[in-house]
């Protein structure tokens, strides 16, 4: 297997596990956190910050999500899904730009 495939395969295995495997948060909620859409307040605030302004996340954001009824294990999973989701979109955007830049030549 080419090395770049090994890197992407390892990333894919992580994505598949957190979205499709067993979890304390529902698969639907994990998918929403991954996509950063369709979540209700205050979880949407926390997930939105993790995805787009991670340095702005505060203890209060986590506390608010906890006070809304989510367990710490669910928050652990949903924050991970948000982080991996945004990073996956970056991966895809970078690879798509590379494919376009090399179109007709070496496949990207």
């Amino acid at each position: 297997m080419p090395d770049e495939d090994k890197k992407r395969a390892a990333h894919r295995a992580l994505v598949d596990r957190i979205l499709g495997g067993e979890g304390r948060a529902s698969a639907e909620q994990r998918a929403r956190a991954f996509a950063n859409e369709g979540l209700s307040t205050p979880l949407d605030t926390l997930v939105g910050k993790v995805a787009t302004r991670p340095a702005r996340v505060t203890a209060a954001d986590l506390a608010a999500a906890k006070a809304s009824g989510l367990s710490e294990d669910q928050l652990f999973e949903l924050v991970i899904c948000a982080a991996v989701g945004q990073s996956t979109r970056l991966y895809e955007a970078g690879l798509a730009a590379l494919a376009e830049a090399t179109a007709g030549g070496e496949a990207g």
Partner: protein
């Protein structure tokens, strides 16, 4: 860390391991290392595999280059823990602290090879803006970076966009300079697995 389970939710074997690491290294176990031990089947096992492959797997980039990319992406994300951890690791890998500092202070004037500079610029833009054009990528390729090196750099960027977010969201505790040095030594010796 901001979730109690990440501070206290480990089994006896893991607690013993943390105690041993503390004893041998004479530094607390960094939160970045602790988190992969929490319910490792959910995140840690596969995250370690991916990060190790990106940072230590076969690549046209040296280990120092990849650690510098990790530090640079973390700086763009303003992730204090990861900036310090990977600055220390890059300095040690290159045996060149001033160059690493220069890149993180001002990429454009830093004494660094053009292919690496163009790649860091591209990773910074992707991280900040969430998108890149084909033109952005052509600039990197014309600086002498191969498509394979671009892919390898993207994998590093992705791994650290994940870790930076977890560090900031869960509140990884920033270590002493000696603690980060010990971590850097470990990462160069053992990697991320």
């Amino acid at each position: 860390m901001r979730l109690d389970i990440l501070n206290r939710g480990y089994g006896p074997a893991t607690k013993l391991l943390f105690a041993l690491i503390r004893l041998v290294s004479r530094h607390p176990v960094p939160d970045a290392a602790r988190i992969v031990f929490y319910r490792p089947d959910f995140y840690g096992d596969r995250a370690k595999e991916f990060t190790h492959e990106a940072m230590r797997g076969p690549s046209g980039w040296s280990v120092g280059d990849r650690e510098l990319m990790a530090a640079y992406v973390s700086k763009v994300n303003e992730s204090a823990f990861c900036v310090a951890a990977h600055t220390a690791t890059a300095r040690r890998a290159y045996q060149d602290g001033p160059m690493v500092t220069a890149v993180l202070t001002d990429l454009e004037s830093a004494p660094v090879r053009e292919p690496l500079r163009a790649t860091l610029r591209m990773l910074g833009k992707l991280t900040t803006e969430g998108e890149l054009s084909a033109e952005d990528m052509r600039r990197v390729l014309s600086a002498g970076v191969s498509p394979q090196q671009v892919k390898d750099a993207l994998a590093v960027c992705v791994a650290f966009n994940i870790t930076d977010r977890l560090a900031d969201a869960f509140g990884f505790e920033v270590l002493s300079p000696e603690g980060f040095e010990a971590g850097a030594k470990y990462l160069l010796k053992r990697g991320y697995r």
